[in-house]
Homo-oligomer: 350 residues x 2
């Protein structure tokens, strides 16, 4: 257990935590006194039918939704909906390697799967809030993986689903990309099999990890059109250092590894013996599949193939030269597109 | 200076070497007794107007052209043409860090640019062979960078040019990708600033470098369609280990770094004060610009933008689910397309 001030209420709050008790994981581990961190916006109505759940993506927290996606008059409107932004296990706010006391923390933190997160979130939503149906589950990237898992695992409960730049079953290519992210960290001698005194000991590995995001997380057009200028950077190097390095070197290496391992194995067909069509056939939610045109590792055609397996679903292509990382909110035009699609989805009677 | 049996006549021969003497480089270094390794196929005719020059790509040698591209009845037909396959400086056969004696070898090997290679090749072609014009210069990837450099630097000499999956001016995105390849190697403590006893000391770094090729060198469709099965592999892991690891861990780390540094800086606009249009405007060769549809770092639209700046040039899109690495000859259908376009190009009177 070590201190990392990045994961503080000051940086990511206000957020609450829910004690899941001893939470047993798919792969056999147990998180004792597992904490699920979450933030809510708006009020749950009396019928308890206005709840929206937003799971977090890789390296992200609940805070980014408050900052970029939620607001009065927008699709995710706290004046109409009760919005629960939940932090995935291992993301640094919920139970994670660096904040877990005892022998099961740091390098011994157990393997967590997307399915574990969704069971944990189900417990929060049903036991803590007493909610029986969700008006919408929406998430980007690993948040989309969790969204699909929700829609397949608890069909009657999910009325609408929106999967932004993510897949229901991770691809071999994406698995390999994620492995390079992990290898960039674990190859740093400072990582020391997960037992370091500070994330600063793994600075070089975290930096290399961030640079891989620079290649695959944006797009060739992001650089060609010099989109980074509009973000306030004076050069590509300035952007790499003061955006990607700044962002990722502050994080906990084991947290990123826990999430990456989980990301690699996102796959709803685990419920159906590997039959993806059968798994997606279980979905009853009105579903929008929303990939990003320039995404280099969740390409639209992969998402399209899955969309075709979901009854009544719609394919809604989002456009931005930024590529995958636009999901962090760096392109207002992208956010406007998301809002438009989500408003339409929320207006559909189900 | 160390021994690496990968770069042997047994593996890459037969090849000859030409002594360039003391070759002074653009960035100020001098390669003393610089050796340029090359292989020829076919015979130079009396008019000396049937010569074709093929520069090598990153990590490749002259051998691959003999194996995959040259043959009777094919576009690159040794019964019609005198074909010179030349190894770029630093590629392990020509003068390179590991085979350079004295203080200027290994980690102190000087910086080499695309322009240096083309000057060296010009010396070989004119002084050694007495050739005043080339019927065709054709190359893939870094070979395309050299092809563009030839066409801009020596316009009257280059009658035809074919740039396969490469650019005249490297992009910021591609620079960053190449940097991750380099960082994967230099982050291995065994690299030791370029002073290792054997490439085996850098095995992990070379392997990480190879895995990045796995992500960016192929394409998402290569994995989605499981194209690797047709190459004789039983799983993605089998392919990664017995193709990419096998290929790259045999190589010399400093050699890859020398080539990567050169690749990052490929830019014909160095001749025109940064004006790419002006540089490409110098080209008088009949030029085919031939990107690969699924290429993740030399994308067709980047090549298209350059093609538009070259008078009388044609855009010829090559198709393969393999992505960039198809250039190594792993897709017969791709090779057939290349042959067809090159035959057409060679048939054009200039």
């Amino acid at each position: 257990m070590i201190t990392n001030e990045f994961y503080s209420q000051a940086n990511h709050g206000p957020f609450q935590t829910y004690d899941l008790g001893n939470f047993t994981l798919e792969d056999g581990g147990t998180l004792r006194g597992c904490q699920l961190a979450y933030a809510t916006h708006g009020k749950l109505n009396k019928k308890k039918d206005n709840a929206i759940l937003i799971p977090s993506w890789f390296s992200g927290t609940s805070k980014i939704f408050e900052q970029a996606y939620i607001g009065a008059g927008r699709a995710l409107d706290p004046e109409k909906y009760f919005i629960i932004c939940v932090n995935q296990i291992g993301n640094g706010l919920s139970s994670s390697p660096h904040n877990t006391a005892g022998p099961g923390g740091m390098g011994a933190f157990p393997k967590v799967r997307i399915g574990d997160d969704v069971r944990a979130q189900h417990q929060l939503v049903t036991e803590h809030f007493g909610i029986a149906e969700l008006a919408l589950v929406v998430g980007g990237s690993m948040g989309a993986q969790q969204t699909y898992e929700w829609a397949v695992r608890y069909p009657p409960m999910v009325k609408r689903a929106a999967a932004i730049c993510g897949t229901a079953k991770n691809t071999d290519h994406d698995f390999l990309y994620t492995q390079t992210l992990m290898d960039a960290i674990t190859s740093d001698p400072g990582w020391n099999k997960g037992y370091y005194a500070s994330n600063a000991d793994v600075r070089e590995g975290l930096q290399r990890h961030g640079r891989l995001w620079g290649v695959m997380g944006f797009s060739t057009e992001f650089y060609k059109q010099e989109v980074w200028r509009g973000l306030g950077f004076s050069s590509v190097d300035d952007m790499l250092v003061n955006f990607l390095d700044f962002y990722f070197t502050a994080m906990d290496p084991n947290s990123l590894l826990t999430q990456a391992w989980k990301w690699q194995r996102g796959d709803v067909s685990r419920h159906t013996g590997g039959d993806l069509k059968k798994a997606l056939g279980r979905i009853t939610a009105k579903t929008f599949v929303m990939p990003i045109d320039e995404d280099m590792f969740f390409p639209p055609r992969d998402c399209k193939a899955e969309q075709k397996m979901i009854k009544g679903s719609e394919f809604r292509l989002l456009k931005s030269p930024c590529g995958h990382l636009v999901v962090t909110g760096i392109d207002p035009n992208f956010l406007a597109q998301v809002d438009e699609h989500l408003k339409e989805l929320l207006a559909i009677a189900v």
